[in-house]
Subunit: 197 residues, 2 copies
Amino acid sequence: MMTIEFPDKFVALFRSDLGLTVEEYALFTSHFHKEFVGKKQHYLREGDFNTLKAYVTKGCSRNYIIDETGKEKTLFFCFEDWWLGDIESFLTGKPCKQYVQAIEDMELLCITKADFYKLGERIPRLMSWFNTKIQKTHFATMHRLMEAKCSQPEEQYLSLLEKQPDIYQRVPLQYIASYMNIEPQSLSRLRKRLTQK
Amino acid sequence: MMTIEFPDKFVALFRSDLGLTVEEYALFTSHFHKEFVGKKQHYLREGDFNTLKAYVTKGCSRNYIIDETGKEKTLFFCFEDWWLGDIESFLTGKPCKQYVQAIEDMELLCITKADFYKLGERIPRLMSWFNTKIQKTHFATMHRLMEAKCSQPEEQYLSLLEKQPDIYQRVPLQYIASYMNIEPQSLSRLRKRLTQK
């Protein structure tokens, strides 16, 4: 069996922030396994079932959907120390509505849904954390909706940079443009203008 | 004290679906009070604190934000038997980012956040229901984001009609257009075209 190294932020989250005991933490982490997703590979496709909770230790990805004209629309990106997947499919057991594609080679730490809920019964704080996590995911999605409805491209550009300063080095321009609902050419012009400021 | 009549769907939700006992249900509902919001009045404004859980028994409303150019952007509507408010402000205790405005005269059944959480400690099923409710709210918001990114106006028009068949009788055209991110004139043309089909 491969030994798994858990990143500092993961340890801090469950040990310091959530306050799991040494025993609880050991039990929890013993249920994780590693998964790898190669660059451009899909971790999930529309119609798949998201049965894993996956913590990103390396790489980045995008969640996207395909519109009626066949065009891919990027909803959001995922980087190190985030949780990856289609949370609706995970929670409801229904097929995914989204695609999740690796933009770089990715390494994930995964626990099955069944194991997670089984442990949640023994360690109630895990479920409290998960419920709070869902709330935060909801707030982030609401902010994305408000941004999609309201923000000018320049504002969205700066907001992305603030959240993930290396995003323009790691994520191809066309995905960022799709996230911002503009054409790649417009994003190129915007970047030129802003970097010349 | 005014006697409160709880609508059938409210009773069914907490008695049949959630399975509260007669005593639990009586305790829970004894903490509700009625509130009224006049047509065009704001139930919440940006910067307010959402400290009530409010169940809509009559009327409808819209949640909106104001963009940098001062334009109102409708995020979603709320009708009878829905819960009203800015859930992020309710959960975090932070100021609202959204406005909630009555489109018709509204009647609400309200319980304070403090009472709700206090009861949640005595009736754990209430908290389970609330956590599930947040999940569903999250899914609805994610669908709104996907729709905002993807859907053609015609599709959004039909989806609104399906969810709320009387929406075009109750909600002014400009709010629906703003929800769909199109100009009111375009919505008028779209309606004409679709009703002639």
